[in-house]
């Protein structure tokens, strides 16, 4: 995988995520807006080697942590868990299918947000020295984040199409070996 391409696309996704929040966000009690970084993490985990996928997930999680009002590390570990799940499940799907990417985003997103909510909620435990976040309610977060994941999975359909279309740019291993990515099941 070409890391400069990944970093540029990751930053572009971050800009899109923050910039289009006003347009794509659903106003309401929860204020749900989709994640652009999660589909990217899933796509990378579907396409590249285990090590690269883990580093990429860590980097994307770091971007989320640095731009959100969250303790550093929770999203990193959440995205890492999502990448692990995607990596384990990727043998079941075609990597160049946007529908497969959307389904994986849903599955991996659930895991990622479970980890994030668990870590942030654990901070409030009395036996840990960290301070709990103000106005943090796990149940409320679960509901809101479920809809975020659902929305992100819906967004992953067009976004996945773009990622697959940009496939030659990424320089994934299967490309370098000459294998055609179309309908290639990665094992």
């Amino acid at each position: 995988m070409r890391w400069p391409v990944f970093i540029i696309i990751a930053l572009t996704m971050l800009v899109l995520e923050k910039g289009l929040r006003g347009l794509l966000g659903i106003p309401g009690a929860f204020g749900v807006s989709p994640s652009f970084l999660l589909p990217l993490a899933v796509f990378v985990a579907l396409s590249t080697s285990r090590g690269a996928a883990m580093w990429a997930a860590l980097f994307l999680g770091l971007l989320v942590d640095l731009t959100a009002d969250m303790p550093l590390g929770s999203a990193c570990l959440g995205y890492l868990a999502a990448a692990l799940v995607t990596f384990e499940l990727r043998g079941l799907v075609f990597r160049d299918s946007p529908l497969a990417i959307a389904l994986m985003v849903f599955a991996a997103g659930i895991v990622a947000h479970l980890v994030i909510v668990a870590l942030v909620t654990l901070r409030g435990a009395a036996w840990l020295p960290a301070d709990a976040l103000v106005d943090w309610y796990a149940s409320e977060q679960f509901v809101r984040r479920f809809f975020v994941v659902l929305y992100s999975a819906a967004l992953a359909l067009p976004l996945g199409t773009v990622f697959v279309w940009l496939d030659p740019l990424w320089g994934f291993d299967h490309h370098a070996t000459g294998a055609h990515p179309r309908r290639k099941r990665i094992t």
Partner: protein, 293 residues
């Protein structure tokens, strides 16, 4: 020495452990302090693009919501105006009917020196011994005790008492009513019949009952004739209003050979009245009031 070598996997594991410790054990203020620099760097890189994109998306969203809001408001306004137009049409029709009715009353009275005051019924009394209704016009509008109250051509009653802005009307549909009346033929009847009688209100049947002489007036009263008040205790303006219509002529059970009983049914039901008219003869003070206006 091998432990200290920078193997990517070891670095990765170390990083994950540090992140886990940071996310669970480090206070938020400390975490924010050392993530401040990378966060500001990231912000520097992304904010120029994010701001533009955000502005564009807000403009799109605002424009869309404004258009939608305008359209929704326009539809709501249109529906509201349509309802108002319908209501105004209904009121216009009712007003025309009232004008026709009042014109008829005026012609019938042949009194130009008469002020007719429209009043809404505020409440209908529940006392069965003394049936009254309250109207929303009182002494401040010139209503006085004894003024005749009607609806259209029908006699409703007489003002019994007045307050500043309300008045109580004693209904003719009352057990105490004992009214001298003329039973006259309708206008389109050329026979020009007229019979005097004394009407009493039968609350059980909701009709006025009067007696007429079988030998003298038996043929002069027919179903469909109407009864006009002719009682000297009532003001003159009441005499052209209608008490009710003859709906039946019955044999008198006590003296069937000499008397007939006529049943006069009032046209208006006090319980259903919403608007009435107070007939106010123009007196010197009313004329003065009108001149001042």
């Amino acid at each position: 020495m091998r432990l200290l070598s920078f193997h990517p996997r070891r670095i990765f594991v170390l990083l994950v452990v540090l992140l886990l410790i940071n996310s669970l054990c480090v206070p938020l203020s400390v975490s924010k302090w050392y993530s401040k620099w990378p966060a500001s760097l990231l912000e520097t890189l992304t904010v120029p693009f994010t701001r533009r994109l955000n502005g564009a998306s807000n403009r799109i969203r605002d424009g869309f919501s404004r258009d939608r809001t305008d359209a929704v408001e326009a539809i709501a306004d249109s529906q509201r105006l349509h309802r108002i137009v319908l209501k105004l049409r209904q009121e216009l029709v009712e007003a025309h009917q009232e004008i026709e009715r009042l014109s008829g009353v005026r012609q019938r009275f042949a009194l130009t020196e008469m002020k007719i005051l429209a009043a809404h019924v505020v409440s209908v009394g529940t006392d069965q011994l003394r049936r009254t209704l309250t109207i929303d016009r009182g002494a401040l509008r010139g209503v006085r005790q004894g003024h005749v109250v009607g609806v259209g051509l029908d006699l409703v009653g007489r003002v019994a008492s007045t307050g500043p802005s309300t008045a109580t009307v004693q209904l003719i549909m009352d057990r105490a009513t004992d009214l001298t009346a003329y039973v006259v033929s309708p206008i389109d009847d050329v026979s020009q019949r007229l019979v005097a009688t004394q009407l009493r209100y039968d609350a059980n049947r909701g009709v006025f009952v009067g007696n007429v002489s079988q030998s003298r007036d038996g043929d002069n009263v027919r179903v469909g004739d109407y009864a006009l008040p002719a009682d000297p205790r009532w003001p003159d303006e009441a005499r052209q209003l209608i008490v009710g219509y003859v709906v039946a002529i019955e044999k008198h059970e006590d003296n069937p050979s000499l008397l007939r009983r006529i049943i006069v049914k009032p046209q208006s039901d006090p319980a259903k009245l919403t608007k009435v008219f107070v007939f106010m003869p123009v007196t010197a003070d009313l004329l003065g009031e009108a001149t001042n206006r």
